[in-house]
Symmetry: C2
Subunit: 376 residues, 2 copies
C-alpha cells in the first residue's frame, strides 16, 4: 500500500525483501533481495535510497546505528525504533512522562525463583489472571499470553528467553487507536481516533469514529500527539489504547503505517501511507480529516478450507461500496490477506457491508465478535 | 495509475514497454520489453496474461486479430478498437446510428485535384476556417489543424498520407466528456459528465460537474452510454463531446482510461482505473457516483525553463487538499507529467486550489484559459 502511494507521488521505492515473491516487490520500482538483519544487504538498500523507512519492527538497532554513523538517513529515528521494538523500554518512557499505561512489571527470564516470585507477587497484588508479553518480537497476538494462576504463568515463562512484561488484565470497555504523522521538524497531523476490535490479539475490524463520545475521541487524539512527540516520531506512529474504567491507557505503539489506519485510504483526505512517505521525506503533510461520517474496515483472512479472497474477488466486488485491498499473499487458513473498507453515513450499514464483503471473500466469522444482524 | 489499482485488488499486471524506464514498469509486477506492433513481443506479453488491455491506441488491428484467433482474450474487442484507432470509421459508425457529430467529410490524401476540390467545396458549404484531422495516430492536439482558406488547407494536406477528416469548426459553448465502464455482458456504469478545457487541443483542466445544468449533464451521460453500447465497449470508454448551439455532438472516443476521468481517483466511489480492470476481467463494477459536490483536476506540464514537478513536490503538497499524481516521466517543456485533483464543496475554491498547486509545481499558465482570480 505504501508502494501504491509512492507511485502516485512519482516517488521511486526500493524494497528490501527476503523473497522476490513478497507482495511489496510487485509494486516497488526496485527490489533488493536480502534481510534487514544482514549488514551488507541493508547497505545495498541504503545505497539506492535517500531515506530508509520500515513496515515492521524486526530490525537490528545496532546495525541501523552503524549505518546512521555513515550518513544513511533512517526515519523514524533510532530512539523511536527503540521504543517500537521493545515494549519494556516503550513502557518505561511513557511512565517517565506520566502517560497512563496498564499496571505492569518487567522481569528477565532465566532468573529462576526470583522471577517466579515477582510474577506471583504481581498476580497477588493486581489479581489473576495476568498478561505475559515478550518485550521484543511479538505481533498480531503472537508473544502474548494470559495466565490464570502462578503455575500457568510458570509454564508459559519456562520456554521464553529475554525480557517479559507482566501486566494486569485490563477490564476493557473498548480498544481505540490513533494514528499521527510527524515530520522531522515536529509538525504533525493526526487522524481521528478509531475503535478497533481484536479477537485473540488480532485486529478484526476498525470502526470510525466507533461508539465513543467525541470527548473520548478527542482525548485519544491528544494522547496520540503526546506519545508521538515523546517518541520523537518521524513518519506515521500508531498508538493503541485501552479505554477502561473511564480512563485511556496506552497499550502499544507502532512506528509505521498500521492496520488501524488502513481505513484512511478511502476514508480520509490523506492516507496513512501517503503521509508516512511525506513525513519521512520531510514534505508537507496532508490533512487527516475524515471524508465520510462513518467508515468500517474489516480484515480479510484465509478460510479454514483454503478459501482465498483472490479467488472470490467477484463475490466481494458485488457488495456495493466495498473497497477491497488484497495484499498479494498466498492464502493459508487464518493468515491476514487483505482488508475491505466501506464509507458512508450510517454506522450500521457500513459495518454490515464491510462484513458482507469479508464473508463473501472467504473470511471466517470471528469468535467472540458479534456481527451485524443482516450479515449472512 | 492502472498499476496502482491493480496492486490494491491483488491483481498481477504485466506491462509491454519499449523502454524499461517507462513509468508503468515501476509499478507493474512484470515487464515485457517490446512493442505492441511486433508480433513476437505481443505474444510474449499474451503468454503471461489472462487478458490484454491497452492504455493507448497505437495498435495493429491485424496483429491483434491473429492473436484473438489463437484464443488470446483482448479487451476492449477489435470492433471497439477499430473505432478508437480510426476517427473516420468511428464517425461512420456514429452517423449510421443517428448520433449527432460535427459536419464532416472524409478524404484520401494523394488524390490531387479531386481531394482539393472536395475540401474547398466543404469549406464553401460550412464556412472557413475548417478543421483537418488525420484519421489515425493523432492525439493531444497532434494531427489536428485549423485551415483558414483553401490555400492553407492545401499546404496542411500536402505532407499528409492516408485518410483525413475534414470538419466544420464547431462554435463551442463547452467541451464535455463522459466516461462509461462496460462489462462483456453489457452491464455498464457511468460517471457523471464533466466539463473539460483544452488549450491547443491539450486538456488543461477537468471540472466536475462544471458550469452546465443537470439536464445537459444527464443528456451527456445518456449519450455516453449509447456510444459505449454502439462501440460494444469492454472496459472504460471516454466520449468527448462538444456542446454547441444547444446540442451535444460526439467529437472523439477513447477506449481506455482517459485524462477526463483522472478526477475519479479521489472524486468518485470507484476510479476509472479500478473499473477498467474490473470490466476487462468481467468482475462486478463499482459505483461511479461522485463523493464530493465539486472536483477540479488540473494537468501538470513541464515548464519552459525545465521546471519539473518532481523537484517542486514540497511546494505543491503545501496546498491544502491537493492530491498530486506524477507519472514518473522525465520533465521536458510542455510535456504532460501528471495532474492534481482537489475535492470539496465550493467550485471556485477547488479550482483555485488545483491551479495553485499546478502553478506551484511549475506548470505554465495556459494561454487562452482564464485562471481563478486568487491564483498567483
Amino acid at each position: 500500500m505504501a508502494g501504491e502511494a509512492a507511485s502516485a507521488l512519482g516517488l521511486s521505492m526500493a524494497v528490501l525483501a527476503e523473497d522476490p515473491g513478497d507482495a511489496a516487490c510487485a509494486v516497488a520500482a526496485e527490489v533488493v533481495l536480502g534481510s534487514p538483519l544482514v549488514e551488507a544487504e541493508l547497505r545495498a538498500l541504503a545505497r539506492r535510497c535517500d531515506v530508509i523507512t520500515f513496515d515492521h519492527e524486526q530490525v537490528d538497532l545496532a546495525l541501523l546505528a552503524a549505518l546512521k554513523e555513515d550518513g544513511v538517513v533512517i526515519r523514524p529515528g533510532l530512539d523511536t525504533l527503540a521504543m517500537a521494538v521493545d515494549k519494556a523500554h516503550m513502557r518505561a518512557v511513557l511512565v517517565e512522562a506520566g502517560v497512563a499505561v496498564p499496571a505492569h512489571i518487567v522481569v528477565e527470564t532465566g532468573s529462576g525463583d526470583e522471577t517466579a516470585g515477582a510474577v506471583t507477587g504481581f498476580g497477588a497484588e493486581h489479581g489473576w489472571p495476568i498478561v505475559l508479553k515478550i518485550a521484543r518480537g511479538g505481533y498480531d497476538g503472537k508473544g502474548v499470553w494470559v495466565a490464570g494462576d502462578p503455575a500457568e504463568a510458570a509454564a508459559i515463562m519456562a520456554p521464553l528467553t529475554g525480557t517479559v512484561l507482566v501486566e494486569e488484565l485490563v477490564p476493557l470497555e473498548a480498544e481505540l487507536a490513533v494514528m499521527v504523522a510527524r515530520r522531522p521538524s515536529g509538525q504533525s497531523v493526526a487522524w481521528p481516533a478509531v475503535e478497533t476490535a481484536q479477537v485473540g490479539g488480532v485486529c478484526r475490524e476498525v470502526l470510525v469514529p466507533g461508539r465513543w463520545p467525541p470527548e473520548v475521541i478527542a482525548q485519544a487524539g491528544m494522547l496520540g500527539q503526546q506519545v508521538a512527540e515523546l517518541a520523537g516520531a518521524v513518519g506515521v506512529l500508531a498508538v493503541e489504547l485501552f479505554w477502561s474504567r473511564g480512563q485511556l491507557l496506552v497499550n502499544e505503539i507502532a512506528a509505521r503505517p498500521h492496520n488501524s489506519g488502513h481505513w484512511t485510504i478511502e476514508g480520509s483526505v490523506t492516507s496513512q501511507f501517503e503521509n508516512h512517505l511525506r513525513a519521512v521525506l520531510d514534505l508537507p503533510l496532508g490533512s487527516g480529516a475524515p471524508q465520510h461520517a462513518q467508515v468500517a474496515s474489516v480484515n480479510l483472512f484465509g478460510g479454514p478450507a483454503g478459501e482465498d479472497p483472490a479467488a472470490l474477488l467477484a463475490r466481494g466486488l458485488a457488495i456495493p461500496g466495498a473497497h477491497i485491498h488484497l495484499y498479494g499473499k498466498g492464502a493459508r487458513p487464518g493468515r491476514k490477506l487483505g482488508h475491505v473498507t466501506v464509507c458512508g453515513d450510517d454506522a450500521a450499514l457500513v459495518r454490515e457491508q464491510a462484513w458482507a464483503a469479508a464473508l463473501a471473500l472467504g473470511t471466517p466469522r470471528p469468535d467472540g465478535l458479534r456481527l451485524p444482524e443482516g450479515v449472512s
